[in-house]
């Protein structure tokens, strides 16, 4: 894959509106029993505007940025050869239903590793006011670099 990708920044994604039922669906699909994620009244009772997304929900918003990376014409990344190596979420505050989130991806590192390549991409996710909510960072292993 293309080493010049390192440092490349992508345009922000269109805003993603976090829906209450999407949060509840995601919570149920990931084994959550948290009243804060499932019950709007429970979330409001402790000061949240609506249900609180589980810690890995940011991947739903991040996904659009990874699609940008894979679609980059000169990236040389074959989706069929991509394996997810590492993932991290670093939050300033939890995601809550009603948030309108925008993600901006930067390729932070490209490394050769044997015959493979490792690309690390950080998606900075901010709310409608432009305040940081979470940075989602993925390391992808691209097999069989040519």
């Amino acid at each position: 894959m293309n080493p010049d990708l390192q440092g490349r920044a992508f345009p922000p994604t269109p805003p993603y509106l976090v829906g209450r039922e999407k949060v509840r669906e995601f919570a149920r699909a990931t084994g959550s029993t948290s009243p804060l994620s499932l019950d709007p009244d429970a979330a409001r009772a402790v000061g949240h505007a609506d249900v609180v997304a589980p810690p890995t929900f940011a991947v739903v918003v991040q996904e659009a940025t990874l699609a940008q990376l894979l679609a980059e014409p000169d990236a040389g990344i074959d989706f069929g050869q991509v394996v997810h190596g590492e993932q991290r979420f670093s939050y300033s505050r939890p995601i809550v239903a009603g948030d309108e989130l925008t993600a901006t991806l930067t390729v932070t590192s490209v490394k050769a590793l044997g015959g493979n390549a490792m690309v690390t991409a950080a998606s900075e996710i901010v709310d409608a006011a432009g305040e940081h909510v979470v940075t989602a960072t993925s390391t992808l292993v691209v097999r069989g670099d040519s």
Partner: protein
């Protein structure tokens, strides 16, 4: 306040996965890669079977920590929350069409910082007796 000693196991949970769990996660997350629901596609790319999404395993593995934080919160107060969560995907979880798979999560309080305001919880996550997530660390802010 952490309500536990460093080194203490604060939660242990086993999740049973079946193919329905993977379809549900595909829909919830928007990750429709067919290696997570089609045996023929999984086999064609050399996999031992249909795999759970790595992000599903990651998502499940943090839930015992969320539940623990809620269990130690004072009634009526916001519980502690997960501020940072990272994993390495070290081994795939193969989900048999009939037997499914089991993912076991053990969460241990590894570190308490800032005079008890924050801490780190380390996860051990196994399936079929083997570790599937490496360096699985959860940073939390206690209530």
């Amino acid at each position: 306040m952490s309500a536990a000693e460093v080194g203490e196991v604060v939660a242990e949970t086993t999740y049973a996965l079946d193919r329905g769990s993977l379809v549900r996660y595909a829909g919830a997350s928007g990750d429709f890669n067919p290696i997570h629901y089609r045996d023929d596609v999984a086999a064609s790319v050399g996999l031992p079977g249909v795999l759970a999404h790595g992000m599903l395993t990651m998502g499940l593995a943090v839930q015992p920590v969320v539940a623990w934080l809620e269990s130690i919160a004072d009634p009526g107060q916001a519980p502690g929350w997960v501020t940072d969560y990272q994993v390495r995907f070290t081994r795939p979880v193969v989900v048999d069409p009939e037997a499914g798979a089991e993912v076991t999560v053990t969460a241990k309080l590894a570190q308490v910082d800032d005079e008890g305001a924050t801490g780190r919880i380390d996860l051990t996550v196994t399936a079929a007796g083997q570790t599937v997530l490496g360096k699985a660390q959860v940073r939390v802010a206690f209530a």
